[in-house]
Every structure is written in structure tokens, then in C-alpha cells.
Symmetry: C2
Subunit: 155 residues, 2 copies
């Protein structure tokens, strides 16, 4: 019996099948597996076999990555999906809502930054201690643990 061109709808997929159908490299699928983003069953000969659901999972990973979410966070989010059964539409929707909120926050911060950049065009940008871009504490201080201006300075 030869390998069918289209793996049977209930059947499993080889890593190459998943690569072709998802558009990611085989090496990336291996990598995702080491990071716990996807899982595989193994044949007697130790080759990976994936249930078809992996395609959706990989698609979700790629979309989440486009939003700028790091793989580790994606992994955490995916880990919250139910173990035994295939995820339902509502499971995926819940995930989407989480990421949407993060995306909203990123958009909010970038918009604020853009508007400040706009304001600062009028002042020659960044030259004065009143420039909000020089004082990230005010509006953007909650975004991370980066270095801070220790000495506001009118240069």
C-alpha cells in the first residue's frame, strides 16, 4: 500500500506533511516540540506522527507570533487548553480574547508613542526636559524593567 497524496481525514501526519500544510519548516516543528508548543506520537521506528489538530495549533502559534507574543507565553497559553479532548471553538475563542487584550495594550502604547513623537516634532524632538519621550515614567513606565533616565538634563 503506497502513501496516499492526501493523508486520510482521521489519520496522522508525518512531520513533513505538517511542514507542507502549515508552511513552517520541519526544523521549526522540531524546535516547537522541544519548547512544548506541540506534541507528537512516535511510530515503532521513532518517527513523529501528529494528529490533524496540530495544524490548527501551528496556525494559532503563527498568528500569536504575529502579534508579538513570545513563544514562551504562547506555550503557557496553549498549556491551558484541555488535555483529553480536542479544543472547542470556545477554547480557541478564549485564547483569542486574551491575545486581543495584549494586542490592544501594545497598540495603545505604540499610539501614545506616535502621538508623542508628533508633538515633539514641533520642539525639535527630545531636546527639553518637558518632552514626554524623555520621561517614560509618566505614561509608559509600566512597560518593563528597562533603564531609566537617572538625571533629567537640559542639554
Amino acid at each position: 500500500m503506497s502513501k496516499p497524496d492526501f493523508p486520510a481525514p482521521g489519520g496522522t501526519l508525518s512531520v513533513g506533511d505538517v511542514a507542507k500544510r502549515s508552511g513552517v519548516a520541519v526544523s521549526t516543528l522540531h524546535f516547537y516540540e522541544t519548547k512544548g508548543l506541540i506534541r507528537s506520537l512516535r511510530t515503532e521506528g521513532n518517527q513523529r506522527r501528529y494528529p490533524r489538530g496540530v495544524l490548527r495549533r501551528v496556525a494559532v502559534i503563527k498568528v500569536a507570533q504575529r502579534t508579538g507574543i513570545p513563544l514562551a507565553s504562547i506555550q503557557e497559553a496553549l498549556a491551558k487548553l484541555p488535555e483529553g479532548r480536542a479544543p472547542t471553538a470556545e477554547d480557541w475563542a478564549a485564547l483569542s480574547r486574551t491575545w486581543q487584550a495584549e494586542l490592544d495594550e501594545r497598540i495603545r502604547r505604540l499610539t501614545q508613542l506616535r502621538d508623542q513623537l508628533d508633538d515633539c516634532i514641533g520642539c525639535g524632538c527630545l531636546s527639553l526636559k518637558t518632552c514626554p519621550l524623555r520621561n517614560p515614567r509618566d505614561a509608559l513606565g509600566a512597560q518593563g524593567a528597562g533603564p531609566r533616565l537617572l538625571e533629567a538634563d537640559a542639554d
Copy 2:
């Protein structure tokens, strides 16, 4: 003559001075120098001395980084500033406008992504070949050279 607490307004700054006043680590300033983002003069004893303008330059770098622009692009943009004279307000403003446009584009793409995520909550997300998130070509295809879905597949 002892080292003044506040380097004279026309004087040069040591790498430690710049680090304190800009809030970035000395190692980062070294790193920026290797990448051509900043330049320094050297004393007889090979120590770095910076004109005060470096403070604004570093501030600009940090702001640009907040927008998500990679250092290599920041370097290119800074390289377009005039060589001989100190940059004018208009020079900085031109830079701001460039980055504002890039920021606008990033915001546009993220907003589109968020809205698509919103639409897809209703469809269980990513399950159908009609889902725009599964077809990045349509709206987001111009964003890079990433992998593409080679086979649209209703899984």
C-alpha cells in the same frame, strides 16, 4: 584641578558620565559604538570622550527602540544626519517623521490583526479557510519574507 561634579557645558563627557546621564549601561555605550550608532574621541590614554550631543543621540536611540525599530535601522537613519555640524531641530524632526510613518504602519498592521482576531472569535478562530488570519497574503503579505501557507486546508 579636580574633576567637576557637573562637566562644563562645553566640555566632553566620559563614558561613565554618559551612562549616568542617559541611563544606559557603559557596556551598552561600547556596544552602540561598535555598531556605529555613536562615536567618540579618545584621550591620550585611549579613554572615550563624548561631545554633549551624544546625550540627545542616545535619547533618540532609546525612543526609536521603543517603537520597535532595530538598531541597524536606527544606525542607518542616524548616519543621514549632517557630519560637520550639530543636527538642527529640523534634522531631528525629519527623523521623527520617518519613524512616525513606520510606527503608523506598525499600528495599522497590529490593529488589523486585532480586528481579525475579533472577527475570528465568532468562528472559533482559525478553523476555516475563509478566516483572514489563515490567509496573510490578503492584507499582511507585504510585511516580510516569512513562510507562507502553501496549502489552504479545511481541517
